[in-house]
C-alpha cells in the first residue's frame, strides 16, 4: 500500500514535537475528516531554522508531516511557501490515490504556520488563504 519511504517516515517520523515559543504555529484539518495536523516553526532572519509537528491521522498524514517539515528546514520563508503537495508526494515516492489529500494537508499546515508568523510580524496576510473545509475535498479537486 505505502512506499518504503512513507513507511520509514511513518515509523520513524522526523520532527515530532512542539517548539516552545514558536514563531509560527498552524493547525489544519478537523475531526470529521479524521486528520489534524499542527506545525510549529522557528524562524530566524527569514530562515526556517526548526520545524516540528503533531499529527492525528493515518499513516500517510504522519509521513507527509514528517517529510514536509524536513523539506522546509533551512529554507527561506518564501521557499517554504512555495512547497507544494506535489513536492511532498514526490519526496515520498507517491501515495495511494485515496491518500493524496494528506499531502495537501501538510502543504496547508505549513502555509497556516507561515501566515501565523507573518501576522505576528505585522505583515499583511489578507491575500493568503487557508483551508477550512474537509481536506479530502480539496485534495480531490487539486490533484
Amino acid at each position: 500500500m505505502y512506499s518504503e519511504k512513507v513507511m520509514d517516515h511513518f515509523m520513524n517520523p522526523r520532527n515530532v514535537g512542539e517548539i516552545e515559543n514558536a514563531d509560527g504555529v498552524g493547525q489544519v484539518g478537523n475531526m470529521k475528516c479524521g486528520d489534524i495536523m499542527k506545525v510549529y516553526l522557528k524562524i530566524e532572519n527569514n530562515i526556517i531554522t526548526d520545524a516540528k509537528f503533531k499529527t492525528f491521522g493515518c499513516g500517510a498524514a504522519v509521513a507527509t508531516s514528517s517529510m514536509a517539515t524536513e523539506l522546509i528546514k533551512g529554507k527561506t520563508v518564501e521557499e517554504a511557501e512555495k512547497l507544494t503537495n506535489k513536492a511532498v508526494l514526490e519526496a515520498l515516492d507517491g501515495l495511494p490515490p485515496a491518500k493524496i489529500h494528506c499531502s495537501v494537508l501538510a502543504e496547508e499546515a505549513i502555509a497556516a504556520a507561515i501566515k501565523d508568523y507573518k501576522m505576528k510580524q505585522g505583515i499583511d496576510v489578507s491575500d493568503m488563504q487557508t483551508c477550512q473545509g474537509c481536506c479530502g475535498k480539496c485534495g480531490e479537486t487539486r490533484e
Partner: protein, 395 residues
C-alpha cells in the same frame, strides 16, 4: 517470511482449516465434472453438492431444499433483499433494516430505495442493540421485508433475532437475517429462530472465500437474482463452485461440532484482552456490549489517536488487526456503526477491532497488550489532540 505473525482479524476472514482443504481437494483435482452433466464425473459432483446441502441443512435445522448456494455472503444478502422486494412489490414497497447493517445489506437496500422503495432504518442503542418495540412500531401495512443482522461485524453485538423475527412473523412480513458473522460462533437454528431468509459466507468460519449460502424457508416468494441455467432448482444460475461448496459444508460441520469449546476459548482470550487493556491503558473504551457480543470480538476506541496509524504500527509488530474506520476503502468517513452507537467522530476514528480465532493463545493476548501500550503512547505523543487534552488538564 520469517516475521512474527499474530492474526487477530477473524471477522475479516479466516484461513481454510486443513481438514476442510482436504475435503475440497478431490474437487480441485480429479473429480472436476460439471454437476449438471449426467455422466459419471458429473454425477460425482452432483452427489458432492447434494451431500453438502444436506450437511448444511442438518446444521441449520432446515430442509435440504431450503439451502441455496451462492458465490459469497454478499450475493446471499443481495439475493435475499432484492429477491424478496421484487417478488413482493405488489403487496407494498416498504423495507425495514437497521442502521448498523453490513454494506452488503445497506447497499442493496439503497439500490431499492433509488428504485422507488421506501426504507426505515431502525436506530440502535449505545451498545448496538435494535429495540424490538421500534420494529413493532415501524412495520406498516405495506412493509414487505425486514432485514436485521444476527451479529455485528464491527462491535460483535448479537441481536435478539428470535424476538425480532417473531414480530415480523406476526405481521406477515418476511424476515431476513445476515448471519455472516454469527455462523460458526453461534449455534444457529432456523426453526428455532423463525427467520425466513438467512445469509452466510464460508470464509468467515474457516471455509474458502467466494462461496456463500442463502437459506430460504419453504414458501417464501423470492425473485431470482442470478438468472441463467437451471442450477439450484432453477433459482440460482451458474456452474456450481463444487470444491467451494464442499469446503463450506465441511467447515460448517466442524464449526458446529466444536462450537462450545471454541466459544469458551474465544471468550477467555477476549476477557483477558479487555481486562489487561483497561488495566494498562488510560482513555480507552470498549464498543458494544460487554456480554451479548460475539465471543471472539473486542472493539476498543483509544482516545486521541487515529485507527490506521495504530493498525500500521501493530502490523509492523506482526499483529494483524482491523480498524472500525473505513480508512482503506478510500472513504474519509468513520464507521457508520460507531457513529450509530453515538461515538463522536474523534473517538470513532480511533477504533481497533481484534477478533480472535482458533489458533490464538494467551501469549498472543499478552503480546498484543504490550504492543498496544507502547504504540498508543507513541501515537499520543504525536497527537495534537492529546497535547490539547494534557494542556487543558494542567490549566
Amino acid at each position: 517470511m520469517d516475521r512474527k505473525l499474530i492474526y487477530v482479524d477473524h471477522a475479516a476472514t479466516t484461513y481454510i482449516k486443513p481438514e476442510v482443504l482436504e475435503a475440497m481437494k478431490p474437487y480441485l483435482t480429479e473429480l472436476y465434472g460439471n454437476p449438471s452433466s449426467i455422466y459419471y464425473l458429473g454425477r460425482e459432483s452432483k452427489k458432492a453438492i447434494d451431500e453438502a446441502r444436506s450437511q448444511i441443512a442438518r446444521c441449520l435445522g432446515a430442509q435440504p431444499q431450503e439451502i441455496y448456494f451462492t458465490g459469497s455472503g454478499t450475493e446471499a444478502d443481495n439475493w435475499a433483499i432484492k429477491g424478496a422486494a421484487y417478488a413482493n412489490r405488489k403487496k407494498g414497497r416498504h423495507i425495514i433494516t437497521s442502521a448498523i447493517e453490513h454494506h452488503a445489506v445497506l447497499e442493496p437496500v439503497e439500490f431499492l430505495r433509488r428504485e422507488g422503495f421506501e426504507v426505515t432504518y431502525l436506530p440502535v442503542d449505545q451498545n448496538g442493540f435494535v429495540n424490538p418495540a421500534d420494529l413493532e412500531k415501524a412495520i406498516r401495512p405495506d412493509t414487505i421485508l425486514v432485514s436485521i443482522m444476527y451479529a455485528n461485524n464491527e462491535i460483535g453485538t448479537i441481536q435478539p433475532i428470535k424476538e425480532l423475527a417473531g414480530i415480523a412473523k406476526n405481521k406477515g412480513v418476511i424476515f431476513h437475517t445476515d448471519a455472516v458473522q454469527a455462523m460458526g460462533n453461534i449455534r444457529v437454528n432456523v426453526m428455532d429462530l423463525g427467520v425466513d431468509l438467512l445469509s452466510m459466507s464460508a470464509h468467515k468460519f474457516y471455509g474458502p472465500k467466494g462461496v456463500g449460502c442463502l437459506y430460504v424457508r419453504k414458501g417464501v416468494q423470492l425473485e431470482g437474482f442470478m438468472h441463467g441455467g437451471a442450477q439450484e432448482r432453477k433459482k440460482r444460475a451458474g456452474t456450481e463452485n463444487v470444491s467451494g461448496i464442499v469446503g463450506m459444508a465441511a467447515a460448517l460441520k466442524l464449526a458446529y461440532e466444536n462450537i462450545d469449546r471454541y466459544n469458551e476459548h474465544l471468550r477467555k482470550l477476549s476477557s483477558r484482552l479487555i481486562d489487561k487493556v483497561f488495566e494498562r491503558i488510560p482513555h480507552v473504551r470498549l464498543n458494544g456490549d460487554r456480554h451479548k457480543r460475539l465471543p471472539g470480538n473486542v472493539n476498543f476506541s483509544f482516545e486521541f489517536i487515529e485507527g490506521e496509524s495504530l493498525l500500521l504500527m501493530l502490523d509492523m509488530k506482526g499483529v494483524q488487526a482491523s480498524s472500525g474506520s473505513a480508512c482503506t476503502s478510500g472513504s474519509l468517513d468513520p464507521s457508520h456503526v460507531l457513529l450509530a452507537i453515538g461515538l463522536p467522530h474523534e473517538i470513532a476514528h480511533g477504533s481497533l477491532r481484534i477478533t480472535f480465532g482458533e489458533k490464538n493463545t494467551e501469549e498472543d493476548v499478552d503480546y498484543i497488550v504490550d504492543c498496544l501500550e507502547e504504540i498508543v503512547a507513541k501515537l499520543r505523543q504525536m497527537s495534537p489532540l492529546y497535547e490539547d487534552f494534557v494542556k487543558r488538564n494542567k490549566g
